[in-house]
Subunit: 393 residues, 2 copies
């Protein structure tokens, strides 16, 4: 008798595609510069921390708090203080398996199918796909070079209210916005928070690129401006600042939020060795490492920007990012970037078509996200030239 | 305006309890012996693998397959061959964030609220709580000292069919059953598989304690007996064999199953450093380490068994386990173990009341699970004596 397991599957379950080899010119994904993984520092930290505390691995969660390894929560709290002017108690920090788990936990705790949330008109595609998978509607708010436009946010909330809907949260990436690379000034942060507060809407602040800022100071987090408390759930990550294959992110929230999240975090804790190694490495090394990495990334951004200007000329417009690992291009000739995904793939080039990073796929269709964290400067120059050629420039 | 985030919560979301300090006599949880974490071996592996491949941490999933780090999948496949007579291709192995993620993925792929599954009458409490949270019904099958009784399984499936219900899977822990510590002989495995096949029911084989066997040979996995293929999804873990705070487990299944699971594994890969370190450590060290650890655990089991016999006398019955980290006691005087949880906690003692590890809480009420992996032999002797005193012996 032949047995077909696919007949067992729950509604809506569909397979992932079989893994494909990496293309030659990969301009997608949050990958980072391989030469700038602090390998020696991490190895030294591993030896030190295992020598001192290795036996504690015998106990789930190292026998400590389910919030995660305490020295790492202390580092996160301290670092948010020194780098982002944000007072955080280590017990308000929940270590997660990457910031993706943070997104999932927030969505599970505060949203149900049929709910609506507000996001930025161009935003992290993985958040949009998560919301679709959960059956949660999203509405986009217009961005300018400083991030969310407050008047647009207010109008969106009011529009939803008139339709009898109360948004569950406003999801924003204020510092090194994904994909625009903008940084929201502090006055704008205050304004956004004031609007959200007045309407009783939670802010979900995703700061996962915020350590990679190279242009200007990092403003205080929106969470730090919430002197009433409870209005902002914050997440961050070591993926962009140290290494993405280490799955270590964090949520910062009050216990009223963290308690339910812990109740839904059914993994018996995130990987302890990665937490221990980062906690050992970071106090002495994090700031210096990130400064070095940001300089490398800024150079790559410049190389990519130059290649885009040189190869696409005035058909393409973009704002040079204030940090991070991507450029957000707009094709002024109205060209639909999705139409070139396949042809580019044949040339070994991968990019994010703007529609996947946009609430309104039509608005996003003339846009494109190009990541420069992983490829070498040479690969960037060659790949962008080949992409322009492929797109018929 | 005061803002109450709990008003935002999705239906059914409830907070975890605030973390409590560990009690003096902790006889719960899958914790292990702190002196037997192979700290030096893991540190050496970390240095070696980071020195050789550290830069690959810059890419999600190390730039490889979303199934996980290939050398670790190769080790798992090879180890199942040499230790459990099971031929596995590394591409049939999906590395998970502990075997708990494996349970969640299987449940998400094959079950929906309102479905029914079959489990062992005494089984892992975390599986029961997961099924309840998902709204999936479960029916228990009677166990003897060799695991699931085939006639009982057949009758259960037929009973469900008569009620118009087709069970989505049979969940079994055949090797070092949790909580009984029994090992299902190979003939019984064949029989169980034959019944499941004939009725078109999937088997979910959880072998997460199987490396810690000390009495007799480890039988071939049920998966290995499935020569037709596709009838068995298998999971295992390094939590019990190396260290639980490392969150590294694995699923073994055909692509027809793994594809949908990858589609639902929204974490961008499990922690790579832990995978790399285990893959580097294990080929040379795993078998020797596990032999040593099993000897330590066997001794602890004996100490606990002696303490139980000495302090509880003939009011308690148990079968000495064939491996693992727990004893499963039955109170022959009909005493309800749940009634003593609080009094024990006041004395610094934690145990699992049998009701939490049983499909039928009434049947389980006279039973108790006591874990001996973590406490020292002295703590075991003292704690069991104090528990007996607390329970009025």
């Amino acid at each position: 008798m032949s047995f077909d397991p696919t007949k067992l599957f729950a509604v809506g379950v569909s397979p992932a595609e079989r893994p494909q080899p990496s293309p030659r010119f990969s301009f997608v994904g949050g990958n980072n510069d391989a030469d700038n993984v602090p390998v020696a520092g991490l190895a030294e930290a591993a030896v030190t921390v295992l020598g001192r505390e290795g036996p504690s691995l015998a106990t789930y969660g190292l026998g400590g708090s389910p919030l995660g390894y305490e020295p790492l929560r202390e580092f996160v709290a301290g670092s948010l203080g020194s780098r982002a002017n944000t007072m955080v108690h280590p017990d308000d920090v929940l270590i997660t398996s990457g910031s993706l788990q943070a997104l999932d936990l927030v969505n599970k705790v505060v949203t149900e199918p049929g709910d609506v949330v507000i996001v930025e008109q161009a935003t992290y595609g993985g958040m949009l796909s998560r919301l679709r998978a959960r059956g949660v509607d999203y509405v986009g708010v217009e961005l300018d070079n400083d991030g969310i436009i407050p008047q647009a946010l207010e109008a969106t909330i009011e529009g939803l209210k008139q339709a009898g809907r109360h948004p569950k949260y406003v999801y924003t990436i204020p510092t090194v916005q994904n994909p625009t690379g903008s940084v929201m000034p502090v006055e704008r942060r205050r304004h956004i928070l004031e609007i959200a507060r007045r309407h009783g809407v939670l802010i979900f602040e995703d700061d996962c690129y915020a350590d990679l800022i190279w242009d200007g100071e990092r403003p205080p987090t929106i969470r730090s401006l919430d002197d009433v408390g409870g209005h902002v759930v914050f997440c961050g990550s070591f993926s962009k600042s140290v290494a993405p294959a280490l799955r270590v992110g964090y949520l910062v929230a009050d216990w009223a939020m963290l308690g339910p999240m812990l109740g839904l975090k059914t993994d018996a804790g995130s990987g302890a060795l990665e937490q221990m190694v980062l906690a050992e490495y970071s106090p002495q090394n994090f700031d210096h490492h990130v400064a070095q990495l940001s300089a490398v990334l800024r150079n790559k951004a410049q190389v990519m920007a130059d290649a885009v200007t040189q190869n696409f000329g005035d058909t393409v417009s973009f704002t040079f990012p204030k940090g991070g690992i991507f450029l957000w291009l707009e094709f002024l000739n109205g060209l639909n970037t999705s139409h070139y995904v396949e042809a580019a793939a044949k040339q070994g080039i991968q990019f994010n078509p703007g529609s996947e990073w946009s609430v309104d796929p039509a608005w996003g269709s003339t846009r494109m996200r190009l990541c420069f964290g992983q490829p070498s400067t040479e690969t960037i120059s060659q790949g962008v030239a080949l992409l322009a050629e492929t797109m018929g420039r």
